[in-house]
Subunit: 142 residues, 4 copies
């Protein structure tokens, strides 16, 4: 299990009313929505990803999550993000969900993006700005 | 149209990846999810609403929204909240969605809660702590 | 209050696990997602709406819902759809949510689309195929 | 890769407008919502799971999905469901998402439920009715 400081980037997520399900805690599915949000917010802000018109877009080809502790609306959590493998056209991210002041994650997962052409949906090499931004999230990327 | 300063309470909402729809902006439905989130976060924090075990809960009986401008992930917005009518067992909220630094709302709406017993779902008078918290959001509530 | 037979078109919606909220019934926000789904499915199937590349798209400028009865996952409901006003570039839909075998709606609402150019987002006259499909949902549209 | 006939149970899912994301296809996160829906609908219908008041509830402790092909609103898909491992208090499900007439899955995944007491959230043996329903989804369960 990773700790908060094992993730070089943190993205805050405020839970929403509808994240809670009938069992009174955040539904397991929402954690993936937070992964998607943290990753894409990073790519847009630091990697020049243009989700509206850019030629290259990232598609999820695989994802995973394991759950250790409940999160409950209205708490605010942080998504820790790091890059485990940076390939020519794909990236494997590792992520952790941290409750306030917790060092151990409430959930941990991973997510693989393949970058493709927006029109033909065939693999593309990562654009330079995107690659540079992602390299900074590798274990030795500082 | 109301301005940002016409709302006594503001709740920040960070957009999420999935809020954007196929047309590239936040889907109209999400604004209602933000209303629900801002209202319930306020009731929990200031009004002692216990969503898990409290005897009295709030159910939405009517809602409305009009849309003036697009919001796009990953921007952060604020939900302005005020109380337009505070009845014995019901509350009418008015809400505005404000983009960063905007004085005019991207959307405006209202939302009516009826408070009911958790088990019998029949109307209940608002608990005192809830009423006091909501009274502070009335136009003359400061 | 309208009855099931007051709506000329019906779109089935199977509830999902996450539609239920912490109070054990479908969250008020989801009804709007069902409205959006029923309307757009109709426009795509009968009105030749091309959500991916079409020049004209429909944006929601106003919506409303009033709630009469709870719906609970895993039930299946039907969304009744009719057209109340068909303008040059806008449409006002009226909708009802019907539980199985119910004649009276669990919820009723309305939704206004303005059709705009995909790029400039300025009003456009409704394309002919769309107008013809919508005219069939007017009270005298059979 | 499994085929449609490798799954003993199939649950239909109609896509919704908001399932599509900015890239014009169903967002990767929604597949997990469909998994959750198919599993719980089965447990409620065939296994006497009482999500509102039952003493034993199922919590997700791990999930996974790999994506092979896009799904686009308004299409209707089927979720194939089988049980890979049935333990004393946990179940591992395997799932596939099938587009109309497709024999190969658009996505495949798995999902692990641990059954716990509603109040203490500690592991419980699966209730008999639930176990019997799940045993029918094992490879040799017919």
């Amino acid at each position: 299990m990773s700790s908060r400081h094992d993730y070089p980037h943190h993205h805050p997520v405020a839970t929403r009313w509808a994240d809670n399900d009938v069992y009174g805690h955040v539904n397991n599915v929402e954690y993936y929505a937070w992964f998607d949000t943290a990753i894409n917010a990073y790519l847009i802000e630091y990697g020049e990803l243009d989700i509206h018109g850019g030629e290259t877009i990232g598609l999820c080809v695989e994802s995973h999550c394991s759950y250790n502790a409940a999160v409950v609306f209205p708490e605010v959590v942080e998504v820790g993000l790091r890059v485990a493998k940076l390939g020519r056209s794909s990236v494997r991210y590792e992520l952790g969900i941290f409750r306030a002041e917790a060092q151990e994650p409430a959930a941990e997962g991973w997510f693989v993006h393949v970058f493709v052409g927006r029109e033909d949906r065939r693999p593309r090499a990562l654009p330079d700005a995107l690659r540079a931004a992602l390299a900074r999230l590798e274990p030795d990327g500082a």
